[in-house]
């Protein structure tokens, strides 16, 4: 593992960091992609818990369902689906960038609005359907 030798030891000028810049939607969404990704990674614990409980038997599964139907548990699940859809929609935006499209400033701003709109819309749609079916 090669490190940037001696130059890293001296005090050197730093590039401006987050607090310097005026906030833009594109910037906020870029940061949000990392935050939501990290949250989703932690949330894999919930998926694991659900699968283990189901495999373990009716009693443990009943515990999970009780937590899910509790208002606080429901709120966490609702938040989790929003975070999931936001990361998914912005991830697709990243794939479009990877393909070489959408770098224009105005287009990037518009696509960030589309991402947020899609995340809100899909989250609401999912939960409305869950309440209709359930």
């Amino acid at each position: 593992m090669a490190r940037a030798s001696k130059s890293g030891d001296r005090a050197r000028p730093l590039s401006p960091h987050l607090q310097i810049y005026r906030w833009w939607l594109t910037m906020a969404l870029s940061i949000a992609h990392r935050v939501t990704g990290s949250a989703l990674a932690v949330g894999l614990l919930l998926l694991t818990w659900w699968l283990v409980a189901l495999a373990a038997g009716p009693e443990s599964f009943a515990t999970v369902q009780a937590v899910m139907h509790n208002p606080l548990g429901g709120l966490v699940l609702f938040g989790y689906t929003f975070v999931l859809f936001l990361h998914m929609a912005n991830g697709i935006r990243h794939l479009v960038w990877d393909a070489g499209y959408g770098y224009d400033k105005e287009v990037a701003r518009q696509s960030s609005q589309v991402v947020i709109g899609a995340a809100v819309g899909l989250t609401l749609l999912t939960w409305i359907l869950i309440f209709i079916v359930g």
Binding site: S38, A41, L44, L51, A55, H94, L95, I130, V133
Partner: protein, 124 residues
């Protein structure tokens, strides 16, 4: 400000830098497909009980899709967490420790999920 050629010579690139990037995209596409499928499933199963979910998992296609979902999402999480750690943890020792710990935890949890799904698929 140039790095001396003698320092560079013999070290060079590991020639595997693109692999991480590609796998992150590959698992991202797989995640989108598998998670949308699971959300549609979950909507259809809303309000269903323990026995209904057990019956659902007993179907080989459902179990196979769930296995793919677990492998793809946990792999994607591992790759993403790695990037975040490498960007924000600057102390070499802490960084290596954090990467090792998160990798071990993610592999352990993923394996627990796989075993659970196999148990459900076998109807045990």
């Amino acid at each position: 400000m140039r790095t001396a050629i003698r320092q560079v010579r013999g070290l060079g690139a590991a020639r595997e830098g693109v692999g991480h990037w590609k796998l992150q995209r590959l698992t991202a596409i797989a995640n989108a497909i598998l998670i949308l499928w699971f959300i549609v499933t979950a909507i259809g199963m809303a309000g269903e009980d323990y026995l209904a979910w057990r019956a659902w998992f007993a179907h080989p296609l459902a179990a196979a899709m769930m296995l793919l979902l677990v492998v793809s999402t946990f792999w994607h999480a591992r790759l993403g967490v790695q990037v975040v750690i490498e960007d924000y943890v600057h102390h070499e020792g802490v960084k290596v420790a954090a990467l090792t710990a998160t990798t071990l935890v993610i592999f352990a949890l993923g394996t627990v999920c796989v075993v659970s799904i196999l148990k459900l698929a076998a109807g045990g």
